[in-house]
Symmetry: C2
Subunit: 183 residues, 2 copies
């Protein structure tokens, strides 16, 4: 019995080592598929979202009614989707409860040698998120993550988010029409 105990322990330790070796350290979000961690209505910061699949990038998008008056091309948007939701959407074309999308906004930086034209992502100026969860009216809520400094965030109190996403977003409040990977 003693010897068997040693064998079992060895196998368990070996098994744990194998698991530890094959799972990169990608933060909590990896192990839970990046589904939202909520406390009441507050969203806990989606640690590790930088490694989630990027579903789309864009530049200069505006849904303002005001005429666009600016010198440059506008800001870059980069949109991430929680891995579990990405898998579910590619398989079933639906977003599961807890789906989180994170949008980073970068100022455009003008090209530098060897580039003769164009823009790349300069200073990051905002990190925002949207979450699918039944506790929110309309099934989704939007959050401002204070350019990555928020440990938690309350939903943005804006009827306009809900109204616009409901009217224009192609799939379940998500603008999949703008995201190559999800079209």
């Amino acid at each position: 019995v003693f010897f068997r105990g040693i064998v079992v322990t060895l196998v368990l330790v070996l098994g744990a080592s194998v698991i530890a070796a094959v799972i990169p350290d990608e933060g909590l979000t990896r192990r839970d598929g990046g589904l939202a961690r909520l406390e009441g209505q507050a969203l806990l910061y989606p640690e590790g979202y930088e490694r989630w699949p990027v579903v789309g990038a864009a530049i200069g998008l505006s849904y303002s009614d005001r005429p666009v008056t600016r010198d440059g091309p506008g800001n870059f948007h980069r949109v991430y989707l929680s891995p579990a939701a990405y898998d579910a959407f590619l398989t079933a074309r639906t977003f599961p409860e807890g789906t989180t999308l994170v949008m980073e906004i970068y100022e455009p930086a003008a090209s530098a040698p060897p580039l003769r034209a164009g823009f790349y992502e300069g200073r990051r100026v905002a990190v925002e998120a949207s979450v699918k969860d039944r506790r929110f009216r309309g099934g989704w809520a939007w959050f401002d993550l204070d350019n990555g400094k928020a440990e938690r965030a309350a939903p943005v109190a804006s009827e306009s988010c809900l109204a616009c996403h409901r009217e224009h977003a192609a799939t379940d409040m998500v603008f999949t029409q703008f995201y190559p990977r999800l079209r």
Copy 2:
């Protein structure tokens, strides 16, 4: 001994199940950290790169000497880095052997309701890669993956890739100066 065999087998099977359960199915590249698979000088297609960390996006970049003459803003570039190399670079600021970067190129698509301005990623027109490996002169090689249709690809025979990357890229032939996550 027979009973011990059963116990060990059970533990192994359980261990394997646990491993299978916690590792999402992300293709071969996940389990090998996305490091390049080479056969001689040929690069085997980096399956699953779509889930790798995106290190930068850009629009309209050109390193052509010819004057830029076009109607739109130019194409989108989106650059992925193999996960093992991403981890290594964030820790040690160096790229390990086998590092792969993949660049997707998308035509710009003009904004559509509810957007009043800007561009998002339209049709994908190219998938390219660069790989760090000692077997290549200069330590790196570049590949055209035929917009995702190539099962394998020979290096692009261009001295200009090497010369330009050597002169202008900030870190070990990689344009980290354009990638927010690596700056």
